[in-house]
């Protein structure tokens, strides 16, 4: 997010030869969110034009997609789909986050745990999980459990490995500092190791949540035709392309908003100095 803002700034400074441009660029610099809006306007504008040409009969305009979205919200199908999709997603992400961060910290703190657990997750992360998702159906059928497991399978390895790496790379000087003031092992973990590791841990969590979205969509597209995945499949099968795109776009928006929310949670509660940057 920050990088896109920086990119925007650079371009703005470059393209400000006249006074109006300079004033505009100064206004944009003082309110970074204007860049986000500008970037989105550009994207949706391009989408609208591409839909009007049209580049394919299966490609709707932005405005018709928006209308389709509103229709699905009003008739309740969108709301019900999210009700079904968010359950396994939230459950799976919560389990992966709690289990993944604990395991990661444990591995980071103990060599024995590292030797025992790390290889498993390194293999799991390297494995093409999407291919394994259908296997879950054999064991757990097509209910909530299967979808939740699909989310965990994709989200857990990246969360575990990042948390573990984060703890391993904690600044040793800070740990020495804590010891020199007679901090206990527990104080060391809570007051030094976890906050110092949190940026990398949260990067893992963000990747894990993104992977969780992939997991739940795979499950809904491949094994359990329910929720948002089913909405997409259904509208594709009846050639309601605007509705299909609305469902796809909505899941992208939900995923992006969750990740941004996580980022601001981290800044607020764990690394307050990031807010001031």
């Amino acid at each position: 997010m920050t990088s896109s803002v920086k990119l925007g700034n650079a371009t703005g400074a470059h393209e400000a030869p006249v006074n109006v441009g300079q004033a505009l660029s100064r206004m944009f610099d003082s309110k970074p969110f204007l860049w986000t809006i500008a970037s989105l306007t550009l994207l949706f504008g391009a989408w609208e034009i591409a839909g009007l040409i049209p580049i394919s009969i299966a490609f709707p305009t932005f405005s018709s997609t928006l209308v389709a979205f509103a229709q699905m919200v009003v008739d309740g199908s969108m709301v019900y789909a999210y009700f079904l999709t968010l359950q396994p997603l939230l459950l799976g992400v919560a389990v992966s986050a709690a289990l993944g961060i604990s395991l990661g910290i444990f591995m980071g703190l103990s060599r024995k745990a590292e030797w025992l657990i790390a290889p498993v997750f390194i293999v799991l992360q390297a494995a093409p999980m999407a291919a394994l998702v259908p296997l879950v159906t054999f064991v757990y059928g097509i209910g909530l459990t299967a979808k939740t497991l699909a989310v965990i399978m994709l989200a857990l390895p990246v969360i575990v490995l990042n948390s573990y790496k984060a703890v391993r790379h904690v600044n040793p000087s800070l740990v020495d500092m804590c010891r020199s003031f007679q901090g206990t092992r527990l104080q060391q973990i809570v007051k030094i190791i976890i906050p110092d590791a949190s940026p990398v841990m949260f990067a893992g969590l963000r990747l894990g949540i993104a992977a969780g979205f992939i997991g739940v969509m795979l499950a809904e597209l491949l094994i359990t035709p329910t929720g948002v995945g089913d909405l997409i499949t259904y509208h594709r099968s009846v050639a309601n392309y605007a509705h299909m795109y609305a469902a796809v776009a909505s899941i992208i928006v939900v995923s992006t908003v969750s990740l941004a929310g996580l980022q601001s949670f981290e800044a607020r509660f764990l690394r307050p100095e990031k807010r001031k940057r």
């Binding site: 600044n171 000087s173 800070l174 020495d176 500092m177 804590c178 010891r179 020199s180 003031f181 007679q182 901090g183 206990t184 104080q187 007051k191 030094i192 906050p195 110092d196 764990l270 690394r271 307050p272 100095e273 001031k276 940057r277």
Partner: protein
């Protein structure tokens, strides 16, 4: 305030003219097959500033961390106030070369961190930390984060944190090495002021000869690997003079020269 502090300089323990706070007895240290320290015997007198001086890699940090109880020695013993110690303790506080400040904590929380770990309540922590933040010249920066401070100011936070726990002995590992030359002099003068004000024992590590001679009551010269004591020098300098006069004092210049001569045969 200062007057009443003077009788408290030498607490409880019997006062002798050369009362050692820290005793280092036959310390040896190897890292794998690197021999870092060989047979170090030293005593640090109470209320004095002793400098460990030597070229990079001669084991200064290692010795200081062994005294702090952060690194175990292979053999030998460290005694603080007469008692053998094996780990960190409340009589010693460490100032780190790389500051070791928590980037997520304000100056206030960083300075009070030693007290926080001891379970001191928030009001008392704030009171003590405020005093030392002011003493090191950072009043007004209490709510800033380390990344908002210059290198020199960050080390002031590290020094205030060490003062705040009221240890008898302060261990400073090249505290000014990341500070530029102009600020360095200011720092050395401030350090002398704090030494005078706080009446504590300072063990100071540096690789700068001028810095060592300027600030020290006693200088311990270490030889390169394996670190051994090659010379102990007591600079005779009139500290009541102004900083500029001290740096022009014949005693100061002679001591710098003497140390250069002592080190010359290592430099070849």
């Amino acid at each position: 305030m200062q007057l009443s502090a003077i009788p408290a300089v030498q607490p409880s323990a019997p006062v002798t003219s050369n009362d050692p706070v820290v005793q280092v007895r036959s310390i040896c240290k190897t890292y794998g097959d690197i021999e870092a320290l060989r047979n170090i015997d030293l005593e640090f007198s109470r209320g004095k500033l002793t400098t460990l001086l030597g070229p990079s890699g001669c084991g200064k940090t290692t010795l200081l961390k062994i005294i702090a109880g952060l690194v175990p020695a292979n053999s030998g013993e460290i005694r603080v106030n007469g008692r053998a110690v094996t780990g960190p303790g409340p009589e010693r506080a460490f100032v780190f070369q790389d500051f070791a400040l928590m980037p997520w904590a304000t100056v206030m929380r960083n300075v009070a961190f030693g007290l926080e770990l001891r379970g001191v309540n928030a009001a008392e922590r704030k009171r003590v930390a405020t005093r030392y933040i002011e003493e090191v010249g950072l009043a007004g920066f209490e709510e800033k984060y380390p990344h908002e401070l210059s290198g020199g100011m960050r080390q002031r936070v590290g020094i205030a944190r060490a003062f705040a726990v009221n240890a008898d002995v302060l261990l400073l590992d090249e505290p000014f090495s990341a500070v530029d030359e102009q600020n360095r002099r200011k720092f050395q003068e401030d350090l002398l002021r704090l030494v005078d004000l706080e009446k504590k024992t300072f063990i100071f590590v540096t690789h700068s000869i001028e810095e060592a001679v300027y600030v020290s009551d006693r200088i311990v010269l270490l030889s390169p690997r394996p670190g051994r004591i090659s010379q102990v020098i007591d600079p005779k300098i009139d500290r009541s003079a102004s900083p500029d006069d001290i740096r022009r004092d014949p005693g100061y210049l002679d001591t710098v020269e003497e140390i250069w001569d002592g080190l010359r045969h290592y430099v070849d």
